[in-house]
């Protein structure tokens, strides 16, 4: 009975968003005459509700479908449950926020602005489709469904990124799409290679098969890099700072909060983490991941503090945070014995970062349209998630304690030190974000205040609440309730203090001696030189192709000329024949005379 219930709940969780997406064109077709309907209505916001009900109400279960693709297996377990819970919650709250954020556009669409209506319809259609892909990849246990969910999410989210249709949005969309396609290619290669070697169609089988297959670590490398595009591994993170600032704020929130976690989910699903028999090759892969993760955590912080747009700063903060998560995942390969305890910390980190970053992104919109709150209260509320991300309180503190205690117990103090340095960077990034927001908010406050009881502020407050109380409501097994013992607090909080001091010093110095930088560090760092190099090589390639085309043309022309020669030779025969015909009598005479002469002489 419970199996049937689980099957129904799971399929409705996946299908409900799709049905809501389908409803829009149907409604538009039915209401052809008369005013266009408002696409973002109350029902539209309910898309993630069945998924939330599934994970909170039913918990664990498995569903197998023989007829689906290569054989479908969908499951919900101790790791997937918390991930699904925070993902669905973030999507729900961001959806409600979107209703407020896009209310102006909706009003224009209803009033008859065609362009606004087209944009809004696209957004309303692709939002639930993206959600559905995100949910599917979380519950999928067979490779085909997982890849399907990943692809649907990736490609549908393109529409969310380019929503505004400006030039910047198109650049961001292009960077997003190019990197996503590259990632898909790497993932496909890793999955095909691994699944082909292991002869399996499930993710569990893939993980086990990789351990024994020759070249297993190379498969792991492909998969790490492929999913790393989504998770913002250093060097593959180019799309994040370009796509985040241009997307509508609720889309940035789910992009940074939920969707980049899909990369992490991919690692958890495919890499043989915590397998004692993984061998040296996998340990080396782990070390590479560790170095890349720490490099991202520190490098993104350094580059991010030079940004001016708060969402670009937050995007670099996401790269930095995902770098820390990468380092933790890498420990599953470097020190497999730690993994059972560490995996819980990683999931908690993902959920904490997802919701907190969601609250921060939604807060950017709140800063631009401040609600009717006293300034001190508004700013306290905006600072809270920043402090939490820095590891000073609530879910941030719990997460930090969770992985720090595991790493200390395992004897990896050096890694902890590096992660603490990254936390200094996080604090600086948060200070920079708030500074950028402060500049914008003063202007917005003069323009007028929004009512407090509206979708935007309420959704933001709810996200904030969910993020801060995370350790208390998300799975008992993940976090030690009550937080770290007081004696450990100085060890956990010094990065925050250092970061704050550094930020204040930098601010003070900049105020007295304004830094007149002649060059600006654009968001998207490596994207720009790479794009220029690509253009140059493309021009060269086109010149090469043109030469090749000329050569081919010459080759064909040579053959056509030979053909013409042959035809001419044939024509020559015709002419020869005609000549023979004309001179037949003379020729016969000549032959006859010749013969006669020959006879005459031979006789003589």
């Amino acid at each position: 009975m419970s199996d049937v219930l689980f099957a129904v709940a799971l399929s409705s969780a996946l299908l409900w968003p799709l049905l809501l997406a389908l409803r829009l064109p149907l409604k538009a077709a039915l209401a052809q005459r008369g005013r266009p309907p408002a696409p973002l209505d109350g029902l539209w916001c309910t898309a993630p509700l069945p998924a939330l009900a599934l994970v909170l109400g039913l918990g664990e279960g498995t569903l197998a479908l023989d007829w689906w693709l290569l054989g479908g297996v969908w499951a919900l377990d101790g790791t997937r449950g918390p991930l699904l819970a925070f993902t669905a919650l973030l999507w729900l709250l961001a959806g409600i926020y979107a209703r407020g954020y896009l209310a102006g556009e909706q009003a224009r669409a209803v009033a008859g602005d065609g362009a606004a209506e087209a944009r809004l319809t696209r957004f309303a259609l692709l939002w639930p489709v993206t959600l559905s892909g995100n949910l599917l990849l979380l519950v999928a246990e067979d490779i085909a469904s997982f890849y399907l969910g990943f692809a649907v999410m990736t490609f549908a989210a393109y529409g969310l990124v380019v929503h505004s249709g400006t030039r910047d949005a198109r650049t961001g969309g292009l960077a997003y799409l190019v990197m996503a396609v590259l990632g898909e290619g790497l993932i496909l290669a890793g999955l095909l290679w691994g699944a082909g070697s292991a002869g399996t169609t499930t993710l569990g089988g893939l993980r086990e098969g990789m351990l024994e297959a020759p070249g297993g670590a190379w498969m792991g490398l492909l998969l790490w890099l492929g999913f790393g595009v989504k998770a913002g591994v250093v060097g593959l993170h180019l799309w994040l700072p370009l796509a985040h600032p241009v997307a509508p704020t609720p889309a940035s929130a789910v992009l940074s909060g939920a969707m980049i976690k899909a990369g992490l989910v991919g690692w958890l699903a495919t890499l043989p983490l915590g397998e004692p028999g993984a061998g040296q090759a996998f340990a080396w892969l782990g070390r590479a991941m560790l170095v890349a993760g720490l490099a991202a955590a520190l490098g993104a912080a350094l580059y991010g503090v030079c940004q001016r747009h708060p969402k670009a700063v937050l995007a670099y903060s996401s790269v930095s945070q995902m770098g820390m998560i990468t380092a933790l995942v890498a420990m599953g390969l470097v020190a497999p014995a730690l993994w059972p305890a560490l995996s819980a910390a990683v999931v908690l980190f993902a959920a904490h970062h997802g919701l907190t970053k969601g609250a921060l992104f939604l807060g950017v919109g709140i800063g631009e349209h401040p609600p009717r709150l006293p300034a001190w209260l508004l700013w306290t509320l905006l600072v809270l998630p920043a402090l939490s991300l820095g590891g000073a309180l609530a879910s941030g503190l719990a997460t930090k304690w969770a992985f720090k205690s595991v790493l200390y117990d395992g004897g990896h103090a050096a890694v902890v030190t590096w992660l603490s340095l990254a936390a200094v960077g996080t604090t600086a990034l948060m200070a920079r974000t708030l500074w950028c927001q402060w500049q914008g908010e003063r202007q917005a406050r003069e323009d007028g205040l929004e009512p407090l009881v509206a979708p935007m502020p309420l959704a933001w407050l709810a996200t904030l609440l969910a993020a801060l109380t995370l350790p208390w409501w998300l799975g008992e097994g993940l976090a030690t309730p009550g937080g770290p013992p007081p004696a450990e607090l100085p060890g956990l909080l010094w990065p925050l203090a250092v970061g704050l001091v550094a930020s204040v010093t930098a601010w003070g110095v900049a105020r007295h001696r304004p830094l007149r930088a002649t060059w600006r560090l654009p968001p998207g760092d490596l994207w720009w030189p790479l794009a220029r190099a690509w253009q140059a090589s493309r021009r060269r390639g086109q010149a090469c192709l043109a030469r090749l085309g000329l050569a081919q043309g010459a080759w064909v022309a040579w053959w056509v000329a030979r053909e013409r020669d042959a035809v001419r030779a044939l024509d020559g025969m015709t002419r020869g024949e005609a000549w023979l015909r004309r001179h037949a009598a003379v020729l016969m005479m000549v032959v006859a005379v010749g013969l006669a002469l020959a006879l005459l002489f031979s006789a003589a």
Partner: protein, 501 residues
């Protein structure tokens, strides 16, 4: 009904339709339409009947001697009936589409007459029981397609027709020489009698290898293997239903199917592997896949881009044949069907854009998704399938090719597959982005090149319905791949019969 009769009836339905169409006057539009659709439906029904019969162990065969030691053989085996099923199903849609497409255009009698002749020869190819019968129908296909390629009668169309004839007739000659040599060597080989060639001693091996490549050169022209593909992009001037026929239903597929027959039913997969022929096929296919994709990337017009995409995609079939092992075989056979479903959708859509809006170039497609949502949706399904994204069937082909490559011990083939996927994405995704995300004439930017309002729907219903239905088929064949009678299941059955003694 006896087995022989049903075979002849299947073949005869289109032949008879062709004859009657030639006898009807040009203006008998209703009679011709009814006859076309009736014949297509009857044929589909008969093939479905044979599929059902075969799955229950029935046999369908007919043969009569032509010369001493040479017979005309028709036989329905699972492999042949798979191809027959594909071509008769897609034929129905192409017929519907062609009727809508050619409304009010001249020379419809000639067109539909040769059209029916073409399907008759395709069916003959799929049901042929030996190389001789195969060759007869193969040549008939060449000759009956020429009037369709040159249908418009413009200088460009005539030139394309000439190129087409040059390539295919030469190939037919090469093929005949190869077949005669094989016949002289081993007598009349029925498809499936793999032991005949396998029993030759090692001294004959070089000869067999040579003959194999001669025959591949013959088939390779229709299968558009690089460097024998030149005719296919030129033939783009033909009307859209003819393109669908060239690329998805009959001509290109006949070449690929010939290679399938040659490897699996004449040489046998084990002998081909032992002679080292499969590695050669993999190499040729890999080059073709990458070359076709690269050339597609450089095209500025929609139909040539799709044509080069066909060059690349059909070679997936050849690649699958070259991968020794059941998974590679499943990939080859199922892609024979999958590529047909996806490519016919794409060509229908390209035809719809050209007919309704006058769009030929890719940069004219901006915002067409708003004006023609269903066509664009169908195009999107086809394009995503070509890239190899689930749940469209293209993913299944790619999956089996990749895992088959590992099974055959050629992991580098995965790199070819991934490169091809990336290139496919690089030339299809910009089209999709233009369709859906760029503002176009319906958003008030610019104007369509030549807009005609052909119907109450977004275009003429006879043009719209086939595109949507084939797109649905490509989607359902992927989602429901585990169901009995899905293309994948049928291909798996054939492949298992091939490898299990």
């Amino acid at each position: 009904m006896s087995g022989a009769l049903i075979l002849l009836a299947t073949l005869g339905s289109s032949l008879l339709a062709a004859v009657i169409i030639f006898l009807l006057p040009e203006r008998a539009f209703r009679a011709r339409t009814g006859l076309n659709l009736g014949a297509a439906l009857i044929k589909l029904g008969l093939v479905a009947w044979m599929v059902w019969g075969l799955s229950r162990g029935g046999e369908y065969a007919v043969e009569f001697p032509v010369l001493e030691g040479l017979a005309f053989v028709l036989r329905a085996d699972p492999l042949g009936i798979m191809f027959a099923g594909l071509s008769s199903l897609l034929w129905l849609f192409t017929t519907v589409y062609a009727i809508g497409y050619l409304e009010d255009s001249p020379n419809r009698k000639r067109f539909f007459g040769f059209f029916s002749l073409c399907v008759a020869s395709t069916l003959g190819i799929s049901l042929a029981g030996n190389l001789f019968t195969f060759l007869v129908f193969y040549e008939l296909l060449t000759l009956s397609t020429y009037p369709l390629v040159a249908h418009r009668g413009t200088a460009k169309a005539l030139a394309a027709g000439k190129v087409y004839l040059r390539f295919t007739l030469t190939a037919g000659l090469v093929l005949m020489i190869g077949m005669v040599a094989l016949h002289a060597l081993a007598g009349d080989i029925r498809f499936g009698q793999r032991e005949i060639l396998a029993e030759f001693g090692p001294e004959r091996r070089p000869l067999l290898v040579g003959l194999f490549w001669v025959l591949i050169a013959g088939f390779g022209v229709k299968a558009a293997l690089v460097p024998l593909h030149g005719w296919l992009p030129r033939a783009m001037v033909a009307p859209a239903p003819v393109s669908a026929l060239l690329h998805a239903v009959a001509v290109v597929k006949a070449g690929a199917f010939g290679i399938v027959r040659l490897v699996y039913d004449v040489y046998g997969i084990e002998l081909s592997d032992a002679l080292g022929l499969l590695n050669g096929l993999v190499a040729v296919a890999s080059v073709t896949i990458l070359y076709g994709s690269l050339r597609a990337l450089a095209q500025q017009e929609l139909k040539p881009r799709l044509a080069y995409s066909t060059v690349s995609q059909v070679s997936y079939i050849v690649l699958g044949i070259g991968l020794f092992g059941p998974l590679g075989t499943i990939a080859a056979l199922s892609h024979l069907l999958h590529q047909g479903l996806m490519k016919i959708t794409l060509f229908f859509c390209a035809g719809n854009y050209a007919e309704e809006l006058g769009i030929h170039r890719i940069d004219e497609l901006d915002g067409a998704g708003r004006r023609m949502p269903l066509t664009s949706l169908a195009f999107t399904v086809g394009a995503l399938g070509m890239i190899g994204l689930p749940p469209v069937v293209g993913f299944l082909s790619k999956w089996y090719l990749g895992t088959g490559a590992i099974q055959a011990g050629l992991p580098w083939v995965i790199a070819v597959l991934v490169a091809s996927s990336l290139l496919n994405a690089a030339y299809f995704l910009p089209i999709l982005a233009r369709l859906w995300f760029r503002p176009g004439p319906d958003h008030g930017v610019g104007a369509w090149p030549e807009e005609r309002r052909l119907g109450r729907l977004e275009t003429h219903a006879w043009l719209l319905v086939p595109a949507v239905v084939t797109a649905l088929f490509s989607l359902m064949a992927g989602v429901l791949a585990g169901m009995p009678f899905s293309p994948l299941e049928w291909a798996t059955g054939v492949a298992n019969a091939e490898y299990l003694p």
